[in-house]
């Protein structure tokens, strides 16, 4: 672990400063680091001339630092999964993208059925060796990619004994549109729009991460007023999605009052974002060096009044859930993930905080406005659907308070500054606490300051396996409820 370079969140260093470890030392650093409580935020391969290099970014929550290293990678990689399960998907990704043979991986199969980065055809979508269970009265249920509602595409296979799910396998890739690959070679005129559409419901989160990287690479910063406005937009995004999720959870257990009210209230929060920038999802708002739109005093007052009204209605709508027996009977002790499982898998965001893990980038790795203004971290211990719902409710309360205060404490001054071009041969990494959890972006520039590598890790990448674990020994009829309690992104995972 000592061999790793420690850098603050949202910062850049010369690429040469990132230690090039021998493969064994690299492996040892990762394993001992994770044993000591670090988390793998990103682990990816990138081409250097005609060879490959493996790059790791670990989050040290206690020290509030990112610890980074790299190592040469040949055609073969000895899997770390047996001693460090949370890298399982990263290694699958490296195998798929770069054709590296990962030896000793227990579950090596395509991640998103994408064409290999060094040329050649993609594996045909959905064709893989699915995990199966044989036995009397064991049956398989397969759903997707096209689902029965307005939902992104994905394929789910349940191995069931009667009504009980013994195993759920999640096979994605249907939303793969080559967006991470296309970021390489930027920044160019499309880059910011790629960032905004990595996951449309997390536009502010991902675009903030992108802009923090571009600013760090340029050796500059955004202006203070913009940091405050970005914080407001990030919390509005959290409010809209958490409120929508509480409504959807209520809908999945057939409790229509909260489902109806929260469906409307989610829109009220999206409309507040539209009041900032004209787009309900925050398109055009976060820009390198600052933000695209300012708020004048009248807009502050109106936003304050509207958020106050919406928060009162959300409190009432959410407050109907907890004393209602028919709701709690479906929420409690369903879809349980233990703290130990969450730690092993490297879960992030509300899904981790619902297992009692203190993981919130705003608190542990604050960047931007969160260096100055601290939000309390919300955790619940029980790890079930109830916990994931209740964590959201606690965060709604705190985000509302945060925005109401921040609207009146905006620093004066311009909203955007010109940035220099990104410096060449640099390494930058950033974490942003999106509403689903930790968003990690990593960029490495070439000598001309272009992205030689760009890595995006959506929180869903860490958390989909959590959903699979939550379904074990549950009734298959509880799948929609468990799924909604995670509400993970397909497009953010598929990229």
């Amino acid at each position: 672990m000592k061999a790793l370079l420690a850098i603050p969140n949202a910062s850049a260093v010369a690429l040469d400063a990132v230690p090039q470890l021998a493969p064994d030392a690299f492996r040892l650093s990762l394993v001992t680091g994770v044993d000591a409580g670090l988390r793998i935020s990103a682990l990816f391969a990138r081409p250097v001339d005609d060879r490959l290099e493996l790059v790791a970014v670990l989050a040290d929550d206690r020290a509030g630092l990112l610890r980074c290293a790299r190592t040469a990678l040949g055609d073969e990689l000895e899997s770390l999964v047996p001693s460090c399960p949370q890298v399982h998907l990263f290694e699958r990704e490296i195998a798929e993208q770069w054709g590296v043979r990962v030896v000793g991986h227990p579950w090596l199969k395509p991640v998103r059925f994408e064409p290999p980065r060094r040329g050649g055809p993609a594996a045909p979508i959905g064709i893989t060796d699915y995990f199966t269970i044989d036995g009397e009265e064991v049956h398989e249920v397969a759903v997707g990619p096209v689902h029965a509602g307005v939902i992104e595409p994905g394929h789910f296979r349940f191995q069931c004994h009667g009504e009980i799910v013994m195993h759920l396998e999640i096979s994605l890739g249907y939303q793969h549109r080559g967006v991470e690959r296309a970021l390489v070679g930027g920044p160019n005129k499309r880059s910011i729009h790629y960032a905004e559409t990595l996951a449309g419901d997390t536009t502010i989160g991902h675009t903030t991460a992108y802009c923090e990287l571009v600013e760090a690479l340029a050796g500059g910063r955004a202006v203070p007023r913009a940091y405050a406005l970005r914080g407001i937009a990030l919390e509005l995004e959290r409010l809209a999605n958490h409120t929508g999720d509480l409504g959807a959870l209520a809908g999945d257990v057939g409790f229509l009052p909260t489902a109806s009210y929260c469906g409307r209230l989610r829109g009220d929060f999206l409309n507040l974002t539209a009041q900032l920038c004209g787009s309900r999802f925050g398109r055009g708002f976060v820009r390198p060096g600052g933000v695209g739109f300012d708020v004048e005093p009248a807009r502050v007052t109106e936003m304050h009044d509207r958020i106050t009204a919406a928060s009162r209605d959300v409190a009432e709508a959410a407050g109907l859930l907890w004393p209602t027996g028919s709701v709690m009977a479906r929420f409690e002790e369903v879809g349980r993930v233990t703290g130990e499982q969450a730690r092993t898998l490297g879960l992030v965001g509300p899904a981790a905080r619902a297992c009692g893990l203190r993981r919130d980038v705003r608190k542990t790795h604050p960047a931007g406005i969160f260096q100055l203004v601290h939000l309390p971290m919300s955790t619940v211990e029980s790890g079930d659907v109830f916990a994931r719902a209740y964590v959201r409710w606690l965060e709604i309360e705190r985000s509302v308070e945060y925005i109401r205060t921040q609207l009146h404490e905006l620093p004066r001054g311009p909203i955007r500054r010109e940035l220099a071009a990104p410096r060449g041969a640099m390494f930058a990494a950033t974490l942003v606490e999106g509403w689903r959890g930790e968003i990690c972006h990593v960029a490495i520039t070439d000598d001309a300051g272009r992205f030689a590598a760009y890595k995006v890790v959506d929180p869903s990448f860490h958390n989909w396996t959590g959903l699979a674990i939550a379904l074990r020994d549950q009734q298959i009829s509880d799948f929609p409820l468990c799924n909604k309690s995670f509400n993970l992104s397909y497009c953010g995972y598929d990229l």
């Binding site: 096209v146 939303q175 967006v179 296309a182 005129k189 559409t197 996951a199 449309g200 419901d201 009052p257």
Partner: protein, 261 residues
């Protein structure tokens, strides 16, 4: 029980009056752009150069903008030194034919008659339209604002329009996303499973043209590459009112006072 009833009373009636009443839209909404080539500086192509998706064609004295490619971002308006492109709050952004999405100079509009289905099809679907939604290689933004039409605010059901769980129950498809290579077969199979006659609605820049992913080998460049499209609704993503207007205009259910002129 009392708590629930009390909440019901306090939360009140929330369904909007649109289309009978005008919609409430954010003051900063970027709706249909207007083009004023008379303001263009000599041989300037700053807007076209800045556009991330190649939606703008700038020639001396002439501007054209393809709403089907437009992300409704501010890159062209910021780049233009003369204010020749600006956004309006015009939310009506649907067309039956792909070419009708291309705006020429300022006078262009999406002609209302071109937005409705022919009478025979309208007679079939006008009062009951069941749609299967296929999300195929986008960012989930369009899906979110398609989904929101089902909430009490828009109450899509009052128009007889409903999203259904099976293509066998559907009168048509509503497609979002650039249609990834990985979704091509699933979209085609879903289309084939809908009994004829059937319609296809492409919502958002991705489904119309590929949107931000135009030219990526991983995508097909929109729904039209795989299935025949009957209605295009532009935006990235379109505002829910834009989607609702597009659906209702297609069924000729927009009151005359609120039709695009």
């Amino acid at each position: 029980m009392w708590r629930i009833l009390l909440a019901r009373a306090r939360q009140g009636q929330r369904t909007i009056g649109f289309p009978d009443e005008p919609p409430t839209l954010p003051d900063r909404l970027r709706g249909r752009p207007t083009l004023d080539p008379s303001r263009c500086v000599d041989n300037c192509t700053a807007c076209a150069d800045a556009c991330p998706t190649g939606a703008i064609a700038a020639e001396p004295g002439k501007l054209a903008l393809d709403l089907g490619r437009c992300l409704f971002c501010t890159d062209c308006t910021s780049a233009c030194p003369a204010g020749a492109i600006s956004y309006t709050s015009e939310y009506r952004l649907s067309a039956r034919r792909r070419e009708d999405l291309v705006l020429g100079d300022n006078g262009d509009a999406l002609a209302p008659r071109q937005r409705a289905l022919d009478e025979a099809t309208r007679r079939m679907f006008g009062r009951s339209l069941k749609l299967r939604v296929v999300s195929a290689g986008g960012c989930n933004g369009c899906e979110a604002d398609v989904n929101v039409l089902g909430t009490i605010v828009f109450d899509l059901g009052r128009f007889g329009i409903q999203y259904v769980a099976s293509p066998r129950h559907a009168d048509g498809l509503l497609v979002t996303g650039a249609v990834s290579a990985n979704m091509r077969l699933a979209l085609k199979k879903t289309y084939d499973a809908v009994p004829p006659p059937k319609i296809v609605i492409a919502v958002g820049a991705c489904a119309i043209s590929g949107g931000p992913y135009i030219g990526h080998p991983e995508v097909e460049g929109g729904a039209g590459a795989v299935v025949p499209v009957d209605l295009y609704i532009a935006g990235c993503p379109p505002h829910p009112i834009t989607i609702l207007d597009g659906l209702l205009a297609m069924l000729d259910r927009i009151p005359p006072s609120r039709r695009a002129t």
